[in-house]
C-alpha cells in the first residue's frame, strides 16, 4: 500500500467528492477526513523527499514514456503541502456557513484534487487536463452565490482562462510535433536534437506555453480577470484563489522552464526568460501596488495586493540564483499563509459590518479586537516588517538582486513595499477610527454571512497568523522545506 501513496493523495478527495453527492448529512465529515488523509499520506513521504529522493508512480502499470507517471520530488512536495494545508483551512472556515450545500464542498474537493494532479503529474498533456479540471471547478466556485456580479466575474475569468489554456495546449502540440512523446523528462532528452533542426518551432512552443501560463498567473497586461474574480468570490474561495490557484500557474511555468527546456542547448531560452521574468515582475509589482492604493473596496484591494506579490515572486524567479529561487519559493508559502489570513479576516469583517467599503469598516477594532490584531500582523507580513515571514522572503530576494548585480531591483522592491505599507496602514487606520459614517456604499448581498466570527473561523485565522510569526522568527524551518526544491531546480540549470 505504501507504494500507491501518490495516486491515493489525488484519489482521496475525488472519491470523497463523489461519495458526498450520494449523502447529504456527511458532507463536512467526508471533506475534512479526505483532506486530512491526503495530508497524512504526504507527510509519510516527507522523510524520503527531504533527503533528495524522488517517488515515481506509474499509472495503470504502463512504464516509461508510454504511460502517465506521477513524480513527487522536492518541488511537487512543497507545492502540494501548501495546497492541501490551505485547502483544509478553507474547508474548516466554511463550516459555520449554513448556506453552503453539497455542491460547494464537492467543487472544493474537486479543485483540491485536481491541484494535486497538476502538481504531481509528469506528463505534460495530463497537466493540461488537470489544469482545465481545476479551472472549471474554480469558475463554478466563484459563481456559487448566484448574484449578478459573481456571474459576471466568473464569465470573465472563463473566457480569459479558456484562451490562456488554449495557448498552453497549442504549445504542447508544438512540443509533441517535434519530439513525438509527452513525458516531461523524455521531452527534455529529445528536445536538443529538434532544436538544431527546427529552432523556430521550439521557440514558438516556449512562447505559447509562457503566454498561456502568463494569463493564468495574471502578469501585467493579462491580469484583467483577477480583481473581479478574487473580490467577488465568497471569502473562503477568495483565500483559496489568491493563496494557491495563482501559484499553480507559477509551478507549471517553473516545470516547463526547468524540466523541459533544461539542457545546455537552451541557454538562450533560459537567459532570455530570466530577463523577461524580471521585467514583467517589476511592471506587475508597480502596477499592483499603485492600483491597490486607489481602491475603496477591501477585497479588491487585497486582490491587487496579490498581483503585487506575484510580481515579487516573478522577480525572484527571474534572478535565478540559489538565493533568488529560495526567496521566490519561500514567498509562495508566505503569500499563501498571509493572504489566506487576510481574506479570512476580511470575510468576518465584511459580514459583521455589512459593507465592503473600507470607510464603512471604521471602528471595527472595538467590536472584535482579536481579528483586527490578526489583520495587522498579516499585513505587516505583506509589507515585510521584521518578525514576520514576509520580511524573510523579501529580504532574500533583495539580497539575491544585489548579489547578482541588479541593485536597482532591490530599490524597486523596497519602493513597492513602501506603497504596500501605505495602503495597508490606510485600512488599519480606518479600522481604529470612530464609528462609521452613514453613507457607506458597496453592500453586496451575496456576501452576508449568517455568523460573523465563529469558533472555527477565528481559529483558522489564529493558526495562519501563528504560522506567519513562526516562520518569521525561525526562518530555518521554512528554508529547510524549500531547500530540496531549490536544489532540484538548480541541478537542472546549465552550469
Amino acid at each position: 500500500m505504501a507504494i500507491h501513496i501518490p495516486i491515493l493523495i489525488i484519489i482521496s478527495p475525488l472519491l470523497a467528492a463523489f461519495l458526498m453527492l450520494l449523502s447529504r448529512k456527511y458532507k463536512i465529515i467526508l471533506a475534512t477526513t479526505s483532506i486530512i488523509t491526503s495530508i497524512v499520506f504526504i507527510l509519510t513521504l516527507s522523510s524520503q523527499i527531504l533527503s533528495g529522493d524522488k517517488v515515481i508512480y506509474h499509472l495503470g502499470g504502463w512504464r516509461g514514456p508510454l504511460g502517465i507517471s506521477l513524480v513527487v520530488d522536492g518541488l511537487s512536495f512543497f507545492f502540494s503541502l501548501i495546497a492541501l494545508g490551505l485547502g483544509l483551512l478553507v474547508i474548516i472556515y466554511s463550516i459555520p456557513e449554513r448556506r453552503y450545500g453539497r455542491t460547494y464542498y464537492f467543487l472544493l474537493l474537486i479543485s483540491l484534487s485536481s491541484m494535486i494532479g497538476v502538481i504531481y503529474t509528469a506528463d505534460i498533456f495530463n497537466m493540461y487536463v488537470f489544469y482545465e479540471l481545476l479551472s472549471l471547478a474554480v469558475y463554478l466556485l466563484i459563481a456559487y452565490p448566484k448574484t449578478g456580479v459573481t456571474l459576471w466575474a466568473s464569465f470573465n475569468y472563463l473566457i480569459m482562462g479558456g484562451v490562456g489554456l488554449s495557448f498552453f495546449l497549442l504549445g504542447i502540440g508544438f512540443l509533441y510535433a517535434m519530439t513525438g512523446t509527452l513525458d516531461i523528462s523524455h521531452i527534455a532528452e529529445r528536445l536538443p536534437v529538434a532544436f538544431n533542426s527546427s529552432t523556430r518551432m521550439v521557440l514558438m512552443s516556449f512562447v505559447l506555453i509562457a503566454t498561456g501560463m502568463g494569463i493564468k498567473i495574471a502578469v501585467f497586461p493579462l491580469h484583467g480577470w483577477l480583481p473581479d474574480a478574487h473580490s467577488m468570490a465568497p471569502s473562503p474561495v477568495s483565500a483559496l484563489l489568491s493563496g494557491i490557484t495563482v501559484e499553480i500557474g507559477i509551478y507549471c511555468l517553473i516545470r516547463v522552464i526547468y524540466s523541459v527546456f533544461s539542457t545546455e542547448a537552451f541557454s538562450i531560452i533560459i537567459s532570455s526568460s530570466h530577463t523577461i521574468l524580471i521585467v514583467l515582475g517589476v511592471v506587475t509589482l508597480l502596477f499592483g501596488a499603485s492600483m491597490a492604493l486607489v481602491q475603496k473596496d477591501l477585497k479588491r484591494l487585497l486582490a491587487y495586493s496579490t498581483i503585487n506579490q506575484i510580481g515579487i515572486i516573478l522577480i525572484g524567479l527571474g534572478i535565478g540564483t540559489e538565493l533568488g529561487l529560495t526567496g521566490a519559493l519561500f514567498h509562495v508559502l508566505n503569500h499563501a499563509i498571509m493572504k489566506g489570513a487576510l481574506f479570512f479576516c476580511a470575510g468576518i469583517m465584511i459580514a459583521k459590518a455589512g459593507t465592503r467599503d473600507v470607510q464603512g469598516l471604521s471602528g471595527f477594532s472595538r467590536q472584535q479586537p482579536a481579528i483586527v490584531f490578526a489583520f495587522i500582523i498579516a499585513s505587516l507580513g505583506m509589507i515585510g516588517i521584521p518578525p514576520t515571514n514576509g520580511f524573510v522572503s523579501k529580504w532574500l530576494i533583495c539580497l539575491a538582486a544585489v548579489e547578482a548585480g541588479y541593485a536597482v531591483l532591490a530599490v524597486i522592491i523596497l519602493m513597492a513595499s513602501a506603497i504596500t505599507a501605505a495602503y495597508y496602514f490606510r485600512v488599519i487606520q480606518v479600522l481604529f477610527s470612530g464609528p462609521p459614517k452613514q453613507s457607506s456604499v458597496l453592500i453586496y448581498k451575496g456576501e452576508q454571512m449568517i455568523h460573523g466570527g465563529n469558533f472555527f473561523r477565528t481559529w483558522t485565522i489564529y493558526i495562519l497568523v501563528a504560522g506567519c510569526l513562526l516562520l518569521g522568527l525561525v526562518p530555518a524551518l521554512g528554508i529547510s522545506m524549500v531547500k530540496p526544491a531549490v536544489s532540484l531546480l538548480l541541478s537542472h540549470v546549465i552550469p
Binding site: V129, L136, A143, W152, F155, G162, V163, Y176, A177
Partner: protein, 115 residues
C-alpha cells in the same frame, strides 16, 4: 498551405472572435473555434504519408502492424480535448443563461458598465 498553417490561421480567427465581438455568445463561439483549430492541428501532426487508419484488421495474429499507420496518439489526446471543450461550452452557456435572466442583455459593454 499545409494543414498546420491552416489550423494556426483558424486559431487566429477564433482569437479575433473572442477579443473583438461584443456579444457573449459570439465570444463562446470564438473559444469553440479555437478549440477546434487545436484539434485540427494535433490530427494533422499525426499524419504520415500513405498511412492507413490505425485499426487492426480482424483475424490478424500479431499485435504489431507491418504497414505504415498514422499516429494514433494525437487522436486519443484530442478525444480528451474535445470533452474539455464541451464542458467549457456547457458551463459558459449555463452562466450566460443566468446572466441574461438577471441583466436582460448580452452585450459586454453594457454589462461592464452595469457592474
Amino acid at each position: 498551405m499545409t494543414p498546420i498553417n491552416i489550423s494556426l490561421l483558424v486559431f487566429m480567427i477564433g482569437l479575433y472572435g473572442v477579443m473583438s465581438k461584443n456579444n457573449l455568445i459570439k465570444k463562446i463561439i470564438g473559444l469553440t473555434i479555437m478549440n477546434g483549430s487545436i484539434v485540427l492541428f494535433f490530427i494533422s501532426i499525426g499524419y504520415r504519408e500513405a498511412g492507413l487508419a490505425p485499426i487492426l484488421e480482424k483475424g490478424t495474429t500479431d499485435a504489431i502492424p507491418t504497414t505504415i499507420l498514422v499516429d494514433p496518439l494525437p487522436q486519443a489526446l484530442m478525444l480528451t480535448a474535445i470533452v474539455i471543450g464541451i464542458s467549457i461550452t456547457a458551463l459558459a452557456l449555463a452562466l450566460i443563461v443566468r446572466i441574461y435572466a438577471k441583466y436582460k442583455t448580452l452585450d459586454i459593454q453594457q454589462l461592464s458598465k452595469e457592474r
